[in-house]
């Protein structure tokens, strides 16, 4: 029997290794898998590369990983936001490497990874500093920069409901990076508000089919 449900947050993040590349869903405070990130903090993995749109704010989730010096590198589109004090502290001290990526490129690089593609050419950023050192090619008269796929060892994401096969539906704008990250990691771990029975999710409305999901854990709101 296929059953991707696990009984605890500890089981959900078990085995995440030092040096792992971890994709963390969320945009601002919407859709962040806060409890999974805290479980990762407790699990203890260090020297992580985080891929996430923002670099955390306040003292929780991504900011807590930065505060506890678990992060070696962050791949991010908008690290600077109100309350991103731990990112700024670690960045200014030279303790963390930042790879800045335009937001659409960040998402598409993960899509390419999930889709088994070797990368893509995009006009976004082709005339900017962020294209330095990358191949630029003129396509249909416009400059495009080559971007490589971005794979995760692990993805931590948040959804609204899951069944035991790992089929997922999300909640409003909290969907954001979740469906793409789920495809791009070797191990996709999802926290959901609610488990439902197999067959209860309308197949026309499943957003992430369970093939992309490895573990789901219930974290009631």
């Amino acid at each position: 029997m296929i059953d991707k449900r696990v009984g605890s947050l500890t089981e959900a993040v078990a085995g995440i290794a030092d040096g792992a590349t971890v994709l963390v869903g969320g945009f601002g405070n919407s859709g962040i898998p806060v409890e999974l990130v805290h479980a990762l903090l407790n699990e203890g993995a260090r020297d992580l590369t985080l891929v996430t749109n923002n670099a955390g704010s306040g003292e929780t989730d991504v900011a807590a990983l930065l505060r506890e010096r678990r992060v070696r590198k962050i791949i991010c589109s908008y690290p600077r936001s109100s309350g991103s004090v731990w990112f700024e502290e670690r960045y200014r001290a030279g303790e963390i490497e930042l790879e800045l990526v335009p937001q659409g490129t960040l998402s598409e690089r993960m899509r390419a990874a999930g889709a088994g593609l070797g990368g893509f050419f995009t006009p976004a950023g082709a005339d900017s500093l962020l294209a330095e050192g990358k191949e630029v090619r003129v396509i249909n008269g416009r400059r495009h920069v080559f971007e490589e796929p971005l794979h995760g060892d692990v993805a931590l994401i948040k959804a609204r409901k899951a069944d035991r096969w790992g089929n997922l539906v999300y909640s409003t704008a909290a969907r954001n990076f979740g469906p793409t990250m789920a495809t791009a990691a070797a191990l996709t771990v999802v926290q959901v508000r609610e488990f439902v029975e197999l067959g209860d999710l309308d197949p026309e409305c499943v957003v992430t089919p369970g093939i992309f999901v490895d573990r789901v854990v219930e974290v009631p709101a």
């Binding site: 995009t122 900017s128 999300y170």
Partner: protein, 223 residues
């Protein structure tokens, strides 16, 4: 010297947004445009984090804390609205499906180059967000910004000195002093705030301006 207040600048931009348009408003000053668009126009607002049909802020204490806009402020969804994931959202932006975007700007060049993501302040860690995808992808790129910096230096220049967001993308610039089109060969002034002479506008502009035959006055308080 007379100049347009922020609300007038936003109203002027709003007039150029046609009914039926799919529109993305940048963070900051451009957000105001949504508040002054004529309610008779049916406009579908896009938010980069996966919303089409974004509505205004919810009443205090109501709404879904995870339903936020690109500026991380709470918003609502209008009937007919939809949610989708980030990759689809940026496909809409980069793929030419958004009719109009209104962006803030640090600098615009006479060729329509846009600098709006980084200055030369190295004390700040850099951040880019969705600016580059929007600038290259939207069908029309409108820039809303003050004509000069707080200390009076021009922001419309022969070449941007700040790092570029994208090259040759801006269609029209709206400032507190003028409405200026980026056309082949340079910058064409369409409208100037009432009481400001052509020479005075040129003095406050780094790039060379040309003027339309029928320059329209912008009247503060009556835009």
């Amino acid at each position: 010297m007379s100049r347009l207040a922020l609300t007038d600048m936003a109203r002027r931009v709003a007039r150029d947004i046609p009914s039926g348009a799919y529109v993305n408003l940048g963070i900051g000053m451009p957000t105001l445009v949504g508040q002054v668009v004529s309610p008779e126009k049916e406009i579908v607002y896009h938010s980069e984090n996966g919303i089409l049909g974004m509505g205004p802020a919810p009443a205090p204490g109501e709404g879904d804390p995870e339903l936020i806009n690109a500026g991380k402020q709470p918003v609502t969804l209008v009937p007919g609205g939809s949610f989708f994931h980030h990759t689809d959202s940026f496909m809409m932006m980069r793929g030419g499906h958004i009719d109009v975007t209104v962006l803030g700007g640090f600098q615009v060049s006479e060729k329509g180059d846009l600098a709006n993501w980084a200055t030369d302040d190295v004390g700040h860690p850099p951040a880019v967000g969705g600016a580059m995808d929007l600038a290259v992808g939207a069908k029309r790129v409108l820039v809303l910004m003050t004509h000069t910096t707080k200390d009076g230096r021009p922001k419309i220049l022969p070449l941007c000195t700040y790092p570029l967001t994208a090259a040759a993308v801006v269609d029209r610039i709206y400032t507190d002093l003028a409405v200026i089109d980026v056309v082949p060969g340079g910058l064409l002034v369409r409208e100037v705030v009432e009481g400001l002479g052509r020479d005075e506008l040129q003095e406050r502009t780094g790039a060379r301006l040309s003027f339309a035959d029928d320059v329209v006055p912008l009247v503060p308080g009556a835009v």
